[in-house]
Amino acid sequence: MRRLFVARLAQSLIVVLIVTTISFFVIRSAPGDPFSYDAPNVTPAIREHWRAQFGYDRPLPEQFARYVTSAAHGQLGYSFQLHEDVSTALAQAIPRTLLLTGVSLGLSFILGLVIGVAQAVRRGRWFDRLSSGVLMLLYSLPDFWGALMVLLVFAYWWPILPAGNIVDQVLHDYMSPWQAFIDRVRHLVLPVASLTLLTMAGISRYQRAAMLEVLPSDFIRTARAKGLPERQIIWRHAFRTALTPMVTMLGLLLPALLGGALFVEKVFSWPGMGWLAANAIAARDYDLVTAIVIVGSIMVVIGNVLADLLHVAIDPRIRE
């Protein structure tokens, strides 16, 4: 177990290095740089001076070597758009994105697993057919459009929840702790609901398929023959076995979840990493964009390692 962990960690490090290389060269080889914005009073000489000062005039391989060295020391560069260190900006945005994606992921798994099991047990009956149809529809909704529709219905047509941001911009500072908490929750509901509906659909589809694969197994028949109650057969025997492929699914889900969160953050002006990325890219904030792509990838890699370890923990067959 420990050797496996170390090997997996070493592999992940290589993956992160590859990701860093790809994102660095893709972003730097684009035309323009942070100093090529339109401003009549900035002369070419001044631009050249700034470029030299920040090392943008050096050959790409040298810039890359410098970037990797400083990144390894924890310095991710300076955001010219926000006028602060990239790490400061990210330190603010990452927890917000983690909150949004974490809550959605948790809810999606709970709802998706339960629905998937319920469908598999009632296979072919009206509940299965109806919910499969609805879930297929949800599965086919583009992230941003689903979010836009949720926003339209629950923030404009029937305005019961706030349309965006993480807290009330005016009143939040004047609220009592309890009111402030409620305020946060109210702002969280719509983005989380949008992301959850879309993610849950995929999970329950897989869980249904995994359950259907497990249910005809011999050990389920044995459990039935022993006379165990149906509830126990489904949840203790079948469900736990069908959970194993779902852990692999968790690893595959993360990049899509981050991508989905990007659109949801954009629609609901949720100031997390996706929202930060959208603004940083428009402003050609090189260091910030590079850092966001790398951090996003690292989050995916960490998620994959965790999924692998979880896999080992719950599946005795692959433990040595």
Partner: protein
Amino acid sequence: MLPSIRGFVSSESNVAPAFGRLVRHPSARWGLGVIALLVLAASIGPFFSSYSCVEQLDIVNLKNAPPSWPHPFGTDQYSRDVLTRVLCGARVSLAVATLAVLLSMTLGTAYGLIAGFVGGRLDNAMMRILDGCLSIPRVLLLIAVLTLWERVPIGGLIVLLGATGWFGVSRLVRAETISAKQLDYVAAARAIGASDTRILWRHLLPNVISPVIVAATLAVGNVIALEAGLSYLGIGARAPTASWGSIFFDGVESGVAFFAGNWWVVLFPGIAIVVTVLAFNVLGDALRDVLDPRQLHLAQPWTDDKK
């Protein structure tokens, strides 16, 4: 016919006989029918409209007009007829997605076949690179490239969507190749002196193609949604080209308190996208049933419970 036996005796693909089974599959019929209708609407629809895709009809009186008889889907903020733009957008969205998926499936199949067939160190190195590529959130990378290069033409968009979409497929193809190359017919082909190229083309490719077809069908829906998302951010298909996503962009561009007042600009193209993506997903599921008998009991939401 059991899959293992078929794999044992012949290297023929099961794609052709599967077509007959596909048209008898009820949800596949639905999916195929909707896709056929969409292609028809995209190719001849715009000719039946009395407006052109980009014509600004009356920028004063018809700005953001709600749905009415002459304009069933309303008009956008430049007074263009939204129904006509949805029909024109169908051309762009369908074409972009199909071509991008064609590209990514070709890349992915080639990469996976080579890695799986050669094996050893090359395979190992190729898989590590693939792990790296799979860890980059695709949306983030696409947004970065599309924004930094500014005004990427539609051809460039297709190439980008294709070039970032092949990682998962090549993994699938590699796994299939590895298991297929251990089968006896490959040994038999080798024994009668077939070259590597011939084995790859004639024996392995037809055998790994079924999952690629399924993945491709599902990917078309996915890429349509992705392209719409990018265009919604204003970096996919650029104005005045109508794609389903760029119609939203024109609708919501004006700020946050945007579209409660002109929801039709967002609702109707969105429904077009959802119906299309749904049709491709349903067809993809049906194709999986038909092409991969091993999974016959899996993932069939609507059909066939007699087995």
